[in-house]
Amino acid sequence: MSDRATIGFAGCGGCGTPHAPGDRFCEQCGASLESTSAPADRDACSSCGAAPGARDEDGYCTICGLRGRARGDRDELDLSAAAAVSDQGLVHRRNEDAFHLEVVAERHGAAVVCDGISSATAGDLAAQGAARAAGRALALAAGDPSSDAIVATLGAIRAAGDAVELVPWSPEVDRAMPSCTLVSALWRDGELVIGWIGDSRAYWLTEDGCRQLTTDDSWAAEQVAAGTITADEAARDSRFHAITHWVGADAPARPPQVVTLRPEHPGRLMLCSDGLWNYAPRAADLAALVDALPAAAGPAAVARSLTETALARGGRDNITVAVIDIEPEDPARRRHQ
């Protein structure tokens, strides 16, 4: 579903120690590396607890009839300092979210989360194409200090638009052209550039709390910003989820929004689709969820936990979360400059 790349170093899910491709166990803590990102045993019936053998060839439990959710319903990528989870959720028949995550060197990387528009044709292909195109462009920029991060971000989102236009599709009644939302992050030694179109969001989490870095391209956000209605009124309106900008051939002709951050202290960047933030709409809600986790929880643990929370609260949409640990600019390097 989502495009995944593991350039750079990947670390043990237990202690974060980097390991070489092909290693089966972590040299530091001995944890099985193959199991670090594997979900719990999905073969045993999650409903009635029947043994794994009690599942027929069609995937139904032979005791309670419940179908096990097949492998592949969730994509996980754990790069230690950054991790992403994309889950189909409990209601949708397929995952129309996609992510791209690359750590090209310590403190350098790129992440993209896209959410296929559900009223559009081939929303899943649009999201996958956009995430891949923008992600690759940003990863190149992450490894090239001579490039301008904002220019790279705008270029990457244009590349995403080009990719969506290439998605093969045929017109359907009441279905829009392939389109998706996009939120991207490019981090290069303390410099963090976020770009977005639509209502997928970026948050910045520190010890002091949680801040939403993006403002949704949505009817609700625009009304609230204009002061016509309050946030609570917007949340009750049927147009709450209507977005006003998207990536696609029929998108409004205006540029994406971009914001730059130069944090002075370590923090966590989180990108997510509305499948998560629907269940934690305010930044404070997310902060409370993350604060409840053990202090040692790494990006992968945070991403998984937030995904599980969204599932537990209904999982009505696809859920995608990327969590990246961001360090301030390397002090040693700063002294050199």
Binding site: D56, I63, R67, G314, R316
Partner: protein, 420 residues
């Protein structure tokens, strides 16, 4: 060996908290080229009334001879003459004869000499047939029972006991000649023994009818076939009903196989297709959960012969969960049609004209909507139809008893979607 295929027609989507799963499963049997010989018995009513008028007995003898002619070589067969007791007309030396030119002509001769005497005791006839079939090798076992009167010389309980003792041993198509027999009685026998019931008002029509029945029986290549329904723990099967080509209630005829599976009898099959309406109540699950609410398998002599799945998926999308599947809706209507006819005729018999008019009017509307032309024709013999769409009708004054009985016996005949 026949091949069975089974297809499910259903809307698997349930709303939040929904528990009722409905499906129509079409089972088709084909390639039944088996040469396994079956067994056939003709049970002929030879009580006194069959001789009045004498043409009735002559027609029955001719029809039986026609049936005998249709017996294929190698098929076991026998003829029973039924009155207050049951006498084996052919073969005389006990057991059953093996179909051949010689046995067929000997049987025809024996039947031609039949006379009438005594009363009517169908339970005794059926028991005798059961004993004979038990002596034949396994295979499709089929009987035709012809009568012209009521089961006067047995109590209803005696008939029930006899039916219970032969249920599952053989299938039996029942035919009533004239109008002095009782539809309910023969329907009880036919339903228990997985056969059909029909009226042959004019004795001259008997021979053709017997030929059809015997040929169909000879074409049945399978042994006893069961429809096995697996449902998950905690589920309740609320309906198992054959809905095409005729309506046959099977809900209460299941025999548990294990904790979760029940076998429903379907008898033996030729190259044919039958539809079953299933309703299963399951426990509601979470949104997005998918459950196997039922697994239908066809079991022939203990072997699995094809299966279909009945599913349940919970969704918040009301557009999906509120749709009623076309087949399910159609057959729900056909079952209501049969019920309306039977209720209407019963009310008419009881002198309750108001109920009869409402019920038969409803039947007319349902038959019109579903394009059930043959039932419509039969209804027109019993009621004057002012508006077939709304079902505005008036009871006819002088209704021929045969017309009423024909409507009653054939009320369970259904049409398939789009065939009207």
């Amino acid at each position: 060996m026949s091949n069975f295929t089974a297809d499910t027609y259903q809307n698997e989507f349930l709303p939040t908290g929904g528990t009722e799963v409905n499906a129509v499963v079409t089972v088709t049997s084909s390639g039944g080229g088996s040469t396994r010989p079956g067994a056939e018995i003709v049970i002929l009513d030879t009580s006194l009334s069959m001789g009045v008028p004498s043409a009735k007995l002559s027609a029955a003898i001719l029809a039986t001879a026609t049936a005998i002619d249709c017996i294929r070589d190698g098929v076991m067969f026998a003829v029973i003459s039924g009155s207050t007791d049951a006498r084996i007309v052919y073969p005389r030396d006990g057991g059953m004869a093996v179909g051949s030119d010689a046995t067929r002509s000997a049987a025809r001769l024996a039947v031609s000499r039949l006379g009438v005497d005594g009363g009517t005791a169908m339970g005794t006839w059926l028991r005798r047939a059961g004993e004979l079939f038990a002596s034949a090798p396994p295979g499709a076992r089929h009987a035709i029972l012809l009568t012209d009167g009521r089961n006067q010389h047995e109590t209803s309980e005696q008939l029930d006991e006899a039916l219970a003792s032969v249920e599952g041993c053989f299938q039996c198509d029942c035919r009533g000649v004239g109008t002095d027999w009782e539809v309910g009685e023969l329907r009880r026998i036919a339903q228990t023994l997985l056969g059909t019931v029909d009226i042959v008002a004019d004795p001259r029509g008997l021979a053709d009818d017997f030929r059809r029945l015997t040929e169909r029986a000879m074409g049945r290549a399978t042994g006893n076939v069961s429809l096995r329904l697996w449902t998950p723990r905690g589920a309740t099967v609320t309906l198992v009903r054959q809905v095409a080509p005729t309506i046959e209630e099977l809900t209460h005829r299941g025999r548990p196989v294990d904790e979760l599976s029940v076998d429903y009898p379907t008898g033996s099959w030729g190259d044919e297709s039958r539809d079953y309406h299933l309703a299963i109540r399951v426990s509601a699950r979470g949104l997005g959960d998918e459950m196997l609410a039922g697994r239908v398998t066809l079991i022939e002599d203990g072997e699995l012969r094809g299966q279909a799945l009945v599913k349940a998926i919970w969704t918040e999308d009301e557009q999906r969960s509120t749709q009623i599947n076309r087949e399910v809706a159609h057959y729900t209507g056909q079952a209501e049609l049969a019920e309306a006819i039977q209720d209407g005729l019963e009310a008419r018999k009881a002198g309750d004209c108001e109920t009869a008019t409402i019920k038969l009017g409803r039947a007319v509307a349902l038959a019109t909507a579903s394009g059930n032309a043959s039932t419509m024709k039969l209804l027109a013999g019993v009621v004057e139809i002012d508006d077939p769409v709304t079902g505005t009708v008036r009871l006819r004054a002088g209704v021929a008893e045969a017309d009423e009985m024909a409507l009653d016996t054939r009320s369970t005949k259904t049409v398939r979607l789009g065939s009207g």
